[in-house]
Symmetry: C2
Subunit: 361 residues, 2 copies
């Protein structure tokens, strides 16, 4: 097996499964968010596809999901062989979620490595993903935090970027480079410049690190958050888990792993990036879904029209005179827009929420 010298015995995959996917309304709802849906028509939900991809690399009992209480039952139903389920009482962004898993797994298996991968991304080249994953594990074994940077297919303004610097000399990670900096979603001109330079990749939010390193960075950079996570981890495998969660979780600093660790540690030279040469999409909106080759599921009549049309109830859709249309029908709602306005769809659940139509959000 390629990269076979990398030891995966102590490697755990953590899938933070949060986020509503409001730009995929009305398919994606608070009660059945994006990751619980089979958006690609693969017969597996995005969460299941994420799990399947990781289960080719690590054993199922080393795969864990962090999610909220509302989604825990469906997660368990969709992933019956899952190693562990971390139920966070309320969403407090990605650092508390990943930090909780890190703190608990570090106590159970000192020196454990965790890799964190979002629940709602699509990758079909699982072998390519596995190759990058193994290099990232090698980097983690060497004591750095690794991220996988996706080779950009286009100067997208929908993603953050990672600038890579010098090649590192890490055993079994020949492509790993130091991260110069993480940058937020750029404007179009800047994105084009990034892609032209050849030294930028898309930030897919994939992080791999030794739990002791992650927790060490956290103790330095976010001591309050670290202390709270350690208290919860101490109680986790005892009868006190629920009480400690209830007491401490609401006090944790809500912060993303990018801001808590990735960005500050990159400035210290502690983050490495491994290139991801595989296809990757975060299915951010219906235009992304359509670009992936999904034309919807219903028998649509297109008269001087084109785009994505999907009726969950199988009813016939007719589109007349609109190109690049997006039409999505559920039993209780209907979205009509165009590819150009796909990102604006998030304003619909926001407006419904303001109007008290929480049943539709």
């Amino acid at each position: 097996m390629e990269g076979g010298r990398v030891n995966l015995e102590s490697v755990h995959a953590v899938i933070p499964a949060g986020g509503a996917g409001t730009r995929l309304w009305p398919l994606s709802r608070q009660s059945r968010p994006k990751f619980l849906l089979d958006l690609t028509g693969a017969g597996r939900t995005l969460l299941q596809q994420t799990y399947d991809r990781l289960a080719e690399i690590v054993p199922p009992d080393q795969i864990h999901v962090v999610t909220g209480p509302a989604h825990a039952p469906l997660v368990q139903e969709q992933l019956p062989d899952l190693g562990g389920l971390f139920v966070e009482p309320s969403p407090r962004d990605s650092m508390p979620a990943i930090g909780l898993a890190a703190a608990v797994l570090a106590r159970r298996q000192p020196g454990a490595i965790i890799g964190s991968f979002a629940a709602d991304q699509v990758i079909t080249d699982t072998a390519g993903f596995a190759r990058s994953f193994r290099q990232a594990v090698a980097v983690a074994e060497a004591g750095m935090i690794a991220t996988i940077g996706i080779e950009p297919r286009s100067p997208s303004t929908a993603f953050g970027y990672i600038e890579s610097g010098d090649l590192l000399d890490v055993a079994d990670a020949p492509s790993a480079r130091a991260v110069s900096r993480f940058v937020e979603k750029p404007d179009a001109a800047t994105a084009a410049e990034y892609v032209r330079s050849g030294s930028f990749s898309w930030n897919a939010g994939m992080f791999v690190g030794r739990t002791d390193m992650l927790l060490g960075h956290l103790a330095r950079l976010q001591p309050h958050l670290h202390a709270g996570l350690e208290r919860i981890a101490l109680a986790w495998d005892t009868p006190d888990r629920q009480r400690e969660l209830e007491d401490t979780w609401p006090t944790l600093t809500p912060i993303a792993i990018d801001h808590a660790i990735a960005e500050p540690v990159s400035l210290e030279g502690g983050i490495a990036v491994v290139p991801g040469a595989f296809d990757w999409d975060d299915l951010g909106d219906f235009a992304a879904l359509h670009a992936l080759g999904n034309a919807g599921s219903s028998d649509t009549v297109w008269v001087d029209g084109s785009g994505y049309a999907h009726a969950e109830d199988g009813t016939t859709i007719a589109v007349v005179g609109i190109h690049d249309a997006i039409v999505v029908r559920t039993d209780d709602a209907l979205l009509v827009t165009t590819m150009e306005h796909a990102q604006q769809v998030k304003e619909v659940p926001a407006a419904l929420k303001r109007d008290g139509r929480t049943d539709l959000v």
Copy 2:
């Protein structure tokens, strides 16, 4: 009462209720066409509104509907006080339909006058309509065939036009003029010229005439059709009605009253036009429905969008980034288009028919 000298005792109103309204798909279907729907949200269907308008002028037992067997039950349900129902075994255009009513009523009441008015038109100024109707009856009493020409609000290319000539000298019809000619739907430049000239009106297909005059014209111009209608009329109020209908109806020439009588008789100077100064719309498509002030029925969320959105099932519609949109949702179908393409909607049921989806047509 204005125009009180006009005698309405022998005046019958005939409502040909055919036509599918394919440009109003998916609301309008073969099984529940346009005229059976409450498209204006008035609480009354278009057929009922047509009946109501006529019942202000003539007694209900002098109002008749000509329709097909599939729609007869709903017509009777919607109009319980209707004077008479003529069920045509199959649609053969407007001349056989109106001619049948004329032939039967002429036998029952020699010298009867009939006025024919489509079942799917909208007029809110019923007093204005009544004034024109009375002048048209006065013209009919004088032996001419009268039409009501709608004063054009715009240089529409969706309607045929009537060119009026010299003022006639008919008692109780001071505004009646001879018809110079009927013209088909013009192009935009011609329509603009028509409206500028001041001597053209829209052809709303409203005809009023003495039954003996109508049947006389028919005997001259369409002798075969006339003979067939007379045979059916002779049997109508006898046990032979159904047999005669079955034998003769399928042999009748399918032709519109415009081509059978209005156009040829106008060339002989036998048609008069009475101005219609009231509001009028034939609700030809969803753009017309919207122009009438109908914005749809559902609680629509418009984000950078506008237009007509209607969900028959009351579900929430969201339109993002499309202006002048048309969105119509029924339990089994969905139409998405724009005002600009409203006329093209008829291509959808045509395409469905070709595909054998007769359940949706």
